[in-house]
Symmetry: C2
Subunit: 197 residues, 2 copies
């Protein structure tokens, strides 16, 4: 059995060698890069990949009653209103935990009453799609949410807030009502860390 | 509390209205679309979104010893070798379960000994990033994997296979060694359905 934390990866597939990179599209949100690469068997291959505009953060928050704060937001990529948790992109050089708490406060008007290792916890990071892009979300759990009394949303953010029980959250993930990878991953991390039963 | 399966979404944010769509980039893997949209408050906004080349499928498989089949594969989007499960894109009009079993067999040379509701089970679907794109993965669990004796990999697929225990898998997700959203979601679904303890 491979050691999780000190793995022997000597049998790993070789990385590819990138000979040239062509920026095929770029705007403020997205860059499409087409690489001329050499595969491990020596063949040349053209590979399309993406760069995003920053590092994603997401926050699953509980209030003092143990309820979870979810959002419903219209997401244009899937042309529907979806369940998700507060989050967004960290600013350049911004601490990721602070970015998560900033997005939480801006989108929902809630913040943990105090910031301690017991009220703010890093859960983990997932890639959107490691084949395509380094775009990812760092996921935090926050407890003891209290209202700050104000929100400050981005120009294209229109969200409604919903408090649900952990039982509701788990059934919504299990049954497929929640399809956002950040929420699903947050539930996995909370269960695996014994932070939600 | 909102009903999960018959929710009252009358308070939902309004969808956006798309006035025009401009294809800013296209190749066989990816299309970048820039929409001219009207936000719920009437303002115009330019929104960048992506279309992929198909519907993703992923398969987490167990052998008769209860071990899980993982892969390590170099993924160029993150420029590293990562832990993942077999999967890929369904072909046009291909049944998604058959697509998952095809990708499993092609990449790993394993298949369930028989296909029954007990050996092949749909777990759920997650979007890569619903803000950007409808790209998604439909995730299946398969039991009773047996070797078929042959693999048939895509031109740019170089993978190594690894059998791990459920305890190893859970600790690898919890600790962050596994960062692929499909594997993390599969663990969430297995735990929530009582299919892995």
């Amino acid at each position: 059995m491979m050691d999780i934390h000190s793995p022997d990866h000597s049998s790993d597939p070789a990385p590819w060698q990138t000979l040239a990179t062509h920026a095929a599209f770029q705007n403020r949100w997205l860059q499409v890069l087409v690489d001329d690469v050499v595969l491990p068997d020596g063949r040349r291959y053209e590979y399309t990949r993406l760069q995003g505009a920053g590092i994603g953060v997401g926050v699953l928050g509980f209030n003092s009653n143990g309820e979870v704060l979810l959002e419903r937001e219209y997401r244009h990529g899937v042309n529907q209103v979806v369940w998700q948790v507060p989050g967004g992109l960290a600013k350049a050089d911004e601490d990721l935990q602070l970015a998560g708490l900033r997005e939480l406060a801006e989108e929902t008007g809630y913040a943990p009453a105090v910031i301690t290792p017991q009220t703010v916890r890093y859960l983990g990071m997932i890639w959107d799609n490691p084949g395509f892009s380094p775009m990812c979300s760092h996921i935090y759990a926050v407890w003891d949410l209290t209202p700050t009394g104000k929100t400050q949303r981005d120009p294209a953010e229109f969200v409604t807030l919903h408090w649900v029980t952990p039982a509701w959250l788990k059934e919504a993930v299990r049954s497929g009502a929640i399809k956002d990878r950040v929420v699903v991953a947050a539930v996995a991390y909370l269960l695996l860390n014994g932070l939600m039963t």
